[in-house]
């Protein structure tokens, strides 16, 4: 039984890591109604920039601030060059633009900093906490704590601040938001900057786990079923979705995998999400969209 709980707890903690990436998607989607295909590339770009700066002898905190500043500049440029010309265009146009942005960021990151994988030590202890027969990773516990703080802060940001409310209005209707005086360009720049910050945090934690390398872009694939399950517009949904996906994929891999040849944890979350779509298309916490005609 302790093995079951070890798999379950490990899965829940892995799920928190997925949630971290999913959060970035949620932020952009809330602001523009667009799935930001470039989120994975932003994770890579942020982590690679940070680690490259520290390897050049720049102090940890200074590198963190500098990377954050770079992500903010990137957000402003994205708003100016990519998003502003596309105001009031169909969501699919914006989505296509983020695909282009994704390739640009991937190329830019590797062009600027090289394609070599880097080790990243954040100073978070990566030991094993032994509880009975169970091994729990202390790194994953710390990561879960960081994610919890981040989610709390974002929840306050969205629900208790003017910017948060303006952001929700923008997501609903660009033109209507502009008509009531909401500065769309500022909102988008702010949201992309916050998404850049989330990408940085996710990149650092994932980078410390597996190294900072191109594969960081692929962690975005782990976030998609989380979003389908939790809803594209809900911060708590991203967390709950992450926990469900993390736990279920690990349990499925360990207990169902051996009967079907193993290696199922890549597609199992998508299957689960698809089944969930049939029951609740807007996700667990997503806003129900009703069009009156």
């Amino acid at each position: 039984m302790s093995f079951f709980f070890e798999v379950l707890i490990g899965g829940l903690l892995a799920g928190v890591m997925y949630s971290l990436v999913a959060l970035g998607f949620v932020l952009i989607f809330k602001a523009s109604g667009v799935l930001n295909f470039a989120q994975g590339s932003m994770v890579l770009f942020a982590a690679l920039t940070f680690v490259s700066l520290t390897e050049r002898g720049i102090n940890f905190w200074l590198a963190l601030l500098a990377t954050l500043a770079i992500m903010v500049v990137l957000a402003i440029l994205t708003e100016r060059i990519v998003l502003r010309p596309l105001v009031n265009q169909p969501a699919i146009t914006l989505f296509m633009a983020t695909i282009g942005l994704s390739f640009l960021l991937e190329g830019l990151a590797q062009g600027l900093w090289g394609s070599q994988p880097h080790g990243l030590n954040l100073g978070i202890p990566d030991d094993v906490l032994v509880i009975g027969d169970m091994f729990i990773s202390t790194f994953d516990l710390y990561a879960a704590g960081i994610a919890a703080v981040l989610v709390g802060a974002l929840a306050v940001f969205f629900n208790k601040t003017r910017v948060g409310r303006a952001l929700r209005a923008v997501a609903d209707d660009h033109q209507a938001a502009l008509a009531v005086g909401i500065p769309l360009k500022h909102i988008w720049a702010i949201v992309w900057a916050v998404a850049g910050f989330v990408a940085l945090v996710a990149g650092l934690l994932w980078g410390a786990r597996q190294g900072v390398q191109f594969a960081l872009t692929l962690v975005a694939l782990k976030a998609l079923p989380v979003l389908i399950l939790g809803g594209f517009t809900s911060v708590p949904g991203a967390i709950v979705g992450g926990l469900i996906i993390g736990a279920s994929e690990k349990l499925a891999e360990v207990y169902i995998g051996p009967y079907v040849g193993g290696g199922i944890e890549n597609w199992f979350p998508y299957m689960l999400a698809l089944m969930f779509l049939l029951i609740r298309p807007e996700g667990l916490f997503g806003e129900v969209h009703i069009d009156r005609v």
């Binding site: 994988p117 080790g119 390398q213 994929e249 193993g262 944890e265």
Partner: protein, 475 residues
Amino acid sequence: MTLKKVLVSCLGAAVLGGIVAGGGAVVAQSNEQFIPMLSYRVGPYAAGGTGIFGGFIDYINLLNERDGGINGVKITYEECETEYKPDRALECYERLKNSGPTGASMFNFVATPPVYATMDRTLEDKIPVVAIGYGPAYTADGRVFPYIFPLVTTYWSQNTAKIKFIALQEQCLAQYPDLEGKPDRAAQCFEHAKKGELQGDGLDKLKGKKIVNLYHDSGYGKETKPILDAQAEKYGFQVVYIPVPHPGNEQQSQWLQIRREKPDWVILRGWGVMNPTAITQAARIKFPADRIVGVWWSGAEEDVVPAGDAAIGFIAAALNPAGDQFPAIKQIEELLYSKGKGNMQDPSRVGSVYYNRGIIHGVLNTEAIRKAQEKFGNKPLTGEQVRWGLENLEITEARLKELGLEGVMSPIKISCADHEGGAPVRFHQWNGKQWVLVSDWIATDQSLVRPLVEKEAANYAKEKNLPIRDCSKES
């Protein structure tokens, strides 16, 4: 002379000069041997791609710079970015196969999927595919696959050496049980082996042992299953297969299964991010790194650096050792890098594992051309002619020394029937800063591999209705 005549004369001279100059260019171009470079410098496997193709290109440039090419024939190349994607690799193949005065000499995909995809095409195009240390093992049967050359050592051969290495460790531990758990166990065992103190090959010690084969869930990852099963049956050990879905950046459940299985050894058949993730996860379940033996696509600096201290003690097969102490590499530094002509963006990577593998690519490709020139003359050769060179390639210890690369690889000899060479394998261990050799060259077990190669090749020939060449009639 009127002005008109002067102008006409000038124009005529210019045209004539142009023809001569152009003719010169044509002559120059016609004395070139073209090698397409299907590199991957961006994407998830760019670290491997930049290293291998960097070494490959540097070696070619060294020959051009130092010797003026091969016997006066300059080697040219064109890069085509594949991002390690099979569809792009095929696109590049089609685009470049007719380039150069005589078409492509050969293709080096440095990726297994395009080898599968071009196996039949090569027969029509008559251009060899060189797969150094990768690709389907059964293509080593040159009677069925005249244009495929999985040179040096296939995955099956490598796996037999890996099991022999594990057996040696077991033998060593049986004689010196105090070494168990010591960080320098493998190095000390190597010392005992060098002194001839090990009383056997240890293969009898494998009986009853459990080995987990943790593999990338792809054709590449599954490649060694037949040979591992055959070895398990022969030596009496148990194999547990655990797949890791692509890309392998999440392996918690796999390592929890490993913890439950309590294996004696783990074979890591990884690629890219799967490797550091596996090593990190092993540390989290307290599985000793020196009981994990990786394939050579797990044994580069890029595979261990991201895992940090967790990788200390990790062992992997070495197609080639790391190091820039070899004379040829010193010449590359001197003739290319000191003049800013080196291919590596980061010159500190010269001498790394992947870079040196690129050098081996350069050696095998160019030596095959050189061999083919012996038969067909010192001129640009077609793919079909280079194929002959590959099939008759022999690189001796003396030749390696002559090339300034003694110790980078072991000698090999290719033949009509054997397109592999069955070269031995070494193993190296990561000490936190560099790879250190912990074995001598270990011979592969061709008594196990070859029958399996012939069986699978015959099946393929039957399925595709391919002829089986009679090698006694080949010249």
